[in-house]
Symmetry: C2
Subunit: 409 residues, 2 copies
Amino acid sequence: MSLKVSPLAPHSYPDMPPIAGVSLGAIEAGIKYKGRKDLAVIRFSEPAIVAGVFTRSKCPSAPIDWCRKHLQRGKASAVVINSGNANAFTGKKGAEAVAISADAAAHVFNCAPESVFLASTGVIGEPLNAEGFREHLARLNPMLSEDGWANAARAIMTTDTYPKMATQSFQIAGKRFSVNGIAKGSGMIQPDLGTMLAFVVTDFPADHSQLQTCLNEAVEPSFNSITVDSDTSTSDTVLLFSAPEPASSVGSLPDNALDMFRTALSEVMLELAMLTVRDGEGASKLIEVTVSGAEDDQSAKRIAFSIANSPLIKTAIAGEDANWGRVVMAVGKAGEPADRDRLNIYFGDVRVAFAGERDPGYSEAAASAVVKRQEVPIRVELGLGDGHAKVWTCDLTHDYIAINADYRS
Amino acid sequence: MSLKVSPLAPHSYPDMPPIAGVSLGAIEAGIKYKGRKDLAVIRFSEPAIVAGVFTRSKCPSAPIDWCRKHLQRGKASAVVINSGNANAFTGKKGAEAVAISADAAAHVFNCAPESVFLASTGVIGEPLNAEGFREHLARLNPMLSEDGWANAARAIMTTDTYPKMATQSFQIAGKRFSVNGIAKGSGMIQPDLGTMLAFVVTDFPADHSQLQTCLNEAVEPSFNSITVDSDTSTSDTVLLFSAPEPASSVGSLPDNALDMFRTALSEVMLELAMLTVRDGEGASKLIEVTVSGAEDDQSAKRIAFSIANSPLIKTAIAGEDANWGRVVMAVGKAGEPADRDRLNIYFGDVRVAFAGERDPGYSEAAASAVVKRQEVPIRVELGLGDGHAKVWTCDLTHDYIAINADYRS
């Protein structure tokens, strides 16, 4: 089936600055889709430092097992990503396909198999045939280039309707550093303390432990704060690579250098997450849910997700119905501390509920005007403590059903 | 909007045997709907013993507050139920509407307001105007009758497409006892250890504590094992009344009498729960999810609900796509102990996955044949322990979106 581009798609894509020693590309490997590229590569001319976070699913894919195992070494020469097949729940055959893929890349790129990182996205449970990968990678190798970001971002799409790219740069002592990221994701999106497929590369010279710490911090308010459909993938992966110029190190930079990197990384991660939720399957509106006054931040986040995952709220927004009573319902069912009689609810700047009942100045017209927007902010004040959270989701439309009732067949 | 009757509706309704001293009826009070009855009454000529379970929502409706408070007394003279307005999140006005309703019923039925039990279902957050209830109840009073079960069951419907009734009878020492129940519910259904609106009446002479214990037991495998959309209502209520013949008591019955009652009650509760999920908003298929081999029953139930609430699984079933990989996903995301490599999955009797990968004898045709049925059994074996659970849900179709994108407006 051919999908129309999300109405929430960005109007333009960023120019991704080249990062020295990092080349990318993609090729048609015929894994599932016809007439489009489905095998992408990120190649590091010198081994890059790597950090990663992965799905907490109890049924992780074979590539996740592989990446977790080799992340300890913390060095990457290449990343090979395919779409059309998740290589998840594929047992021994899955592990074999992973080994074949890594061996193929090691041969073509002249590196150790353990320095090849792998990710797969697509159907769960179908064996992945990787026998042809060596030939495909050999054909792709001479085509890899420093400006291949968009090619790679397109090749990893499944039900995505647009490629997802983000970049931030900063200068330290006259030297410019960049953080470039690509991601994919549209359905099966509620990354659970891991995330969807995303690959972020920087020339900032951090060590493994710094990279991993910065990544863990950046994941929480970005990918771990979005949901399309409450479903968590078997394949969620974020890999962050540092590919600095030879002989550069964070030790030679000023004290605030790591902070500048951390800020740039957070921006890129948030932008990739927002691009993902804006491409939520069938999305017609972006919903931003803010919860304040909760007992603590974790409680606020659970309540925010209870709202963001409620099919009744998501369908109401799709129908441009300011049915704020369903927000009350979602707060009530979250299983977190809440006092009905202190609850305030806002749609945009319109206070619709105050102190446990409909706002005395409630205006259906004013509330309706907010839900007619393409971006709908919903805010809940609990009045209990200082806990705060913000999460994003999209509405639930007929197109979600259409996409998912016949995705596999 | 007018809803087509669920294809999972029962082909006929049971004949509800009269229960001596219990009369029912309904009347058009014009609360929200036009041209249909929306105010129902169950009247006990002698005060009935009552037990109840209610939503665990942190934002319970005003009638829930009222019932919780007066359940302690354990005696009921009448139940007044309205549809079209949930009287939830209505603050002081809600509490006033409840008091007005109880006073009106007390006046008309010549009883104490505290012996009037109340339930409301419909839109959340709109004040309920109960000023007219006294006049409506006075008109209704002479029309109450022992065979008014279907009338009452119809009057409490909202987006329900058919009335929900169930009955069981049993004989003890030549005396016949009955358990009659009515319920409503179609959307906002994942009763959280409370349940949806359901009213069950028996002439079995149990005391308050026996009734409450039997009810608590019966709720768990029935209403607490169904979900339509993972959303938990502010108004979920089950009330169970014992209206025995005067001077009868459980003490005068044989030892196994309470067990016979418990069995009949469980049957009635399960049937009402199944009728509710079969009328799930937009449902075209009934899905039965069985999880075995979990660490314990609670863990099994969480995994079963993770499957039953996955929009990706529910849309796949709607599309008759045997996409069992999504079952793997839902097991993985449940946050409960699971070992990917021991997992077996069945669609009906067809084993689709075995020991962590696609079944060696997997047949797409055989799996597809199961999901083409109107009732689709999904079974997961975890291979960890003895934990077992069974829950029911329906599929997620375009009609769910259509119903909920414009329910309130």
